[in-house]
Amino acid sequence: MPRTVRLAELAQARSGDKGDLANVALFAPTDALYAAFVREVTAERVRAHFGRYVRGGVERFEVPNVRALNFVLHEALGGGGARSLRSDPLGKSYGSLLLRLEVSVEDAEMEGIPPRHPTR
């Protein structure tokens, strides 16, 4: 059975800046979920999810050795860190924005994934 899950329940992410480009790396914990991310988390979906924050295109690179997808967001930092008007001029929070995205995964793909329990 497919179910809808937020990436935050499944994945690690880190984001950073290069001028007006941002990158967001999304890490899958298992091979099965990596395959699911490759299927579900397309450049087009990420582009739509980031909406007005990204004025250029979104590229996606597969990095299977660490079960990661690396997204490069063009013209995505308001002109870059020393030029941006935003309170997050370096896109440090873009990783968490990507983790908000919902994906459809099969039960079998969820095998071995513990529930995420922060301290609260």
């Binding site: 001028g19 790396a25 008007l85």
Partner: protein
């Protein structure tokens, strides 16, 4: 097998010196490398230099040296830093001052210059470097008359030369972050400059270490709540072997965590195409990297493949791009978001009536959408919301007037304000212009100077 242990001492301008001290005390390293520079930092240092030509290097460099030199001198640990920013000469002089004060007149301080192309932009254009924008392809003509600094990213070679000439401390400007770490590896392990796989391995390790605690448990998005003692996170230490296989770890007794999960996040940090991570000395393929947990807080890094270096160097030009003014006002429940939105409308009308002409404006509701923006769902009645409006103007005078418009809203606006900060100064905005420059136009001008502290004037 021959190997060298290299530690990380700094991840950004403003980092604590405690991490470097732990590495010096219990990292068993021969070198500590300090990355003080980021694109944003270059812009900050440029603004420093515009105010005072003696500035332009990281101001905390003397304090770092003061804290580290006694122990590092005793243990023969050599230090490599790019804290010279856009004034490596001034920075090296400051290090020599500290050394003399500490009674270390024989400390040899090396300096690398030649990355600064600020005064050469037109000359280099005439020589055939178009300086088109690396990402958008736009012509530099769009901003040429507003360019205030330019630097090319140098590789590890000049640092290796400084080490060969006996420098105990090497101070540079815009050496690529990872190259600070590549230099001692090449120097100690005797790798050839066309040994692409090993150079790529060194770049990968340098890349992993350049952001200090970000490889050892900081900013970790996995089970961060279980990472111990982030108040004293151990900075990365690596043992690189002559065959290009490395162990990444941290000093004993420090906090943080080194595991495949913490390290892999840093592997892709600020990376564009992972197949081609372009460093001045080599193109590294990050999809070839194998990470393996091999012990407590120890990850093996192996398998790295590299390709021949590119013909061009990356360069960054910085240009003035107006001035920003910021308004911040907080509102409390009930209807906090509605009040903040109303105030944003009021500010728009006040701006128009005052005749200010913002070129661009960002409105954020902190507590609601300032980080997730378009993806943030409408909240239930929020406890509190901080309105933040940041606007860009052509003149500094307008940017300073802008926040003052909002001050009366403390009495005249919607009820239950809850603090807020409206910095009265305008912020100078610097655009960054990433571009390429021919290696042959920059590298011949690179100079290395090594001199003992006592000899300096």
């Amino acid at each position: 097998m021959l190997s060298v242990r290299v530690g990380a001492g700094q991840g950004f301008y403003g980092d604590t010196v405690d991490g470097a001290l732990d590495v010096a005390r219990s990292g068993d390293v021969a070198y500590i490398c300090f990355d003080a520079l980021a694109e944003l930092t270059m812009a900050i240092l440029q603004q420093d230099r515009m105010r005072d030509p003696a500035r332009g290097y990281a101001r905390d460099l003397p304090a770092f040296m003061e804290a580290l030199l006694p122990l590092c001198r005793e243990r023969g640990i050599r230090l490599i830093t790019n804290a010279g920013g856009i004034n490596p000469g001034g920075a090296a002089a400051a290090v020599r001052d500290v050394a003399r004060r500490l009674g270390m007149g024989d400390l040899r301080v090396g300096m690398v210059v030649g990355d600064d192309i600020t005064a050469r932009v037109d000359e280099l254009r005439a020589a055939g470097t178009p300086f088109d924008h690396l990402d958008t392809g736009a012509s530099l003509n769009e901003v040429r008359d507003r360019v205030v600094f330019g630097v090319a990213y140098l590789g590890a070679r000049p640092v290796v030369e400084a080490l060969e000439r006996g420098a105990d401390v090497v101070v540079t400007g815009r050496i690529a972050d990872a190259s600070l770490f590549v230099a001692p590896m090449v120097h100690e392990l005797g790798w050839a400059w066309d040994d692409w796989d090993r150079l790529a391995a060194a770049v990968v390790l340098g890349h992993l270490m350049e952001c200090s605690g970000q490889a050892t448990g900081g900013n970790f998005s996995g089970d961060w709540w279980n990472v111990p003692e982030l108040d004293r996170v151990g900075y990365p230490v690596c043992e690189m072997s002559a065959d290009g296989v490395a162990l990444l770890t941290k000093p004993a007794g420090t906090g943080g965590r080194v595991s495949v999960d913490t390290v892999k996040e840093q592997l892709l940090y600020e990376v564009l195409d992972p197949h081609s991570y372009i460093n001045p000395d080599v193109v590294a393929d990050f999809t070839s990297v194998r990470l393996r947990d091999v012990g407590p807080d120890t990850v093996e890094v192996s398998g790295v493949r590299g390709r021949e270096r590119t013909a061009s160097l990356k360069a960054i030009l910085g240009y003035l791009d107006g001035y920003a003014g910021t308004i911040m006002i907080g509102y409390s429940w009930p209807d906090a978001l509605a009040k903040a939105r109303r105030t944003a409308e009021l500010v728009d009308r006040m701006v128009e009536r005052a005749g200010l002409a913002p070129l661009e404006q960002v409105v954020e509701y902190i507590g609601h959408d300032s980080v997730h923006g378009p993806a943030a769902p409408e909240p239930d009645d929020a406890n509190e919301v901080m309105l933040r409006i940041c606007a860009r103007f052509a003149t500094e005078a307008q940017a300073r007037r802008f926040p003052r418009l909002a001050t009366p809203l403390g009495l005249n606006g919607p009820p239950f304000i809850a603090g807020g900060v409206t910095p009265p100064q305008a912020r100078t905005l610097l655009g960054t212009w990433p571009t390429l420059v021919g290696r042959e136009l920059v590298e011949p001008g690179v100079e290395i100077d090594v001199a003992a502290a006592g000899e300096a004037g």
